[in-house]
């Protein structure tokens, strides 16, 4: 199955790309998870909790076309349940629309996949919009789950 998430953010494609691929920025709106990678084609990425020596997410950057498109394979590793899921695929697409960008995240999963795999996207994208448009962080319960303690 496929899940599609769309959001408009008042920013440039370059700043949006930077916010997606820079670990310190990404952590500000992705539950505090630090995602590191050199974002070259076929490189790997890893998402870690800053509080514990465990890997939470992992995958390969299948297609890297800054500042327009990023296709990644995705493995969730934060619980035994999600570890059972097969590798899924996440596509980030950035399109400039007047003074804003339309960001679309498409997550391709197996039919009936665990909703934990994709349930976080709305909060992540809302936090990304807040960060780029106001420079502030979301304080919604749960949004800072892995922020350094």
């Amino acid at each position: 199955m496929e899940k599609i998430y769309e959001i408009y953010i008042k920013t440039t494609p370059e700043r949006l790309w930077e916010a997606i691929t820079t670990p310190e920025l990404r952590a500000k709106y992705s539950f505090g998870v630090v995602v590191t990678s050199d974002f070259t084609p076929n490189s790997t990425f890893e998402g870690r909790s800053p509080n514990a020596p465990i890997i939470l997410t992992q995958g390969v950057n299948l297609e890297v076309d800054p500042p327009r498109k990023l296709v990644q394979s995705f493995n969730a590793l934060w619980s035994d349940d999600v570890k059972k899921e097969p590798t899924s695929r996440v596509t980030w697409e950035i399109e400039q629309v007047a003074d804003s960008c339309q960001l679309t995240v498409t997550h391709e999963l197996r039919d009936g996949a665990n909703s934990e795999l994709y349930g976080g996207w709305p909060m992540i994208l809302s936090g990304l919009k807040t960060l780029l448009e106001t420079g502030e962080l979301l304080t919604t319960p749960g949004s800072l789950r892995y922020v350094p303690t």
């Binding site: 199955m1 496929e2 899940k3 769309e6 709305p122 809302s126 919604t140 949004s143």
Partner: protein, 108 residues
């Protein structure tokens, strides 16, 4: 944000979102089968949902599939919930510290 509330203020449109929440990526024909309504009526409601950003469509071969986009609803949530819940979250975490006995401050 007006468009989101307007789109959600109709029971038929909410049931269309329910149908997509249950099974994402449906055709107009499949959605029509779930509602006692003309094809034209369903199309009209889907267009309003699409204009509000709550439904996005993708072409797959000859079919046009409809997907629920919950992001705008999250924006509504985050606009108010964070602000109003913050004192509660802070209060509860103080309570937790006090009850668990590792609070070193005396200012509670």
């Amino acid at each position: 944000m007006d468009a989101i509330f307007r789109a959600l203020a109709d029971p038929t449109r909410r049931s269309l979102l329910d149908a997509l929440f249950e099974e994402d990526g449906q055709t107009l024909g499949a959605l029509e089968g779930r509602l006692a309504m003309s094809r034209f009526g369903v199309m009209k409601h889907l267009r309003i949902l699409e204009e509000a950003g709550l439904v996005v469509t993708r072409r797959r071969g000859r079919e046009k599939l409809h997907f629920i986009n919950p992001v705008p609803i999250r924006l509504v949530h985050d606009r108010w919930v964070s602000k109003f819940s913050e004192p509660w979250v802070a209060g509860l975490s103080d309570l937790k510290r006090t009850l668990e006995g590792n609070d070193d401050g005396k200012n509670l």
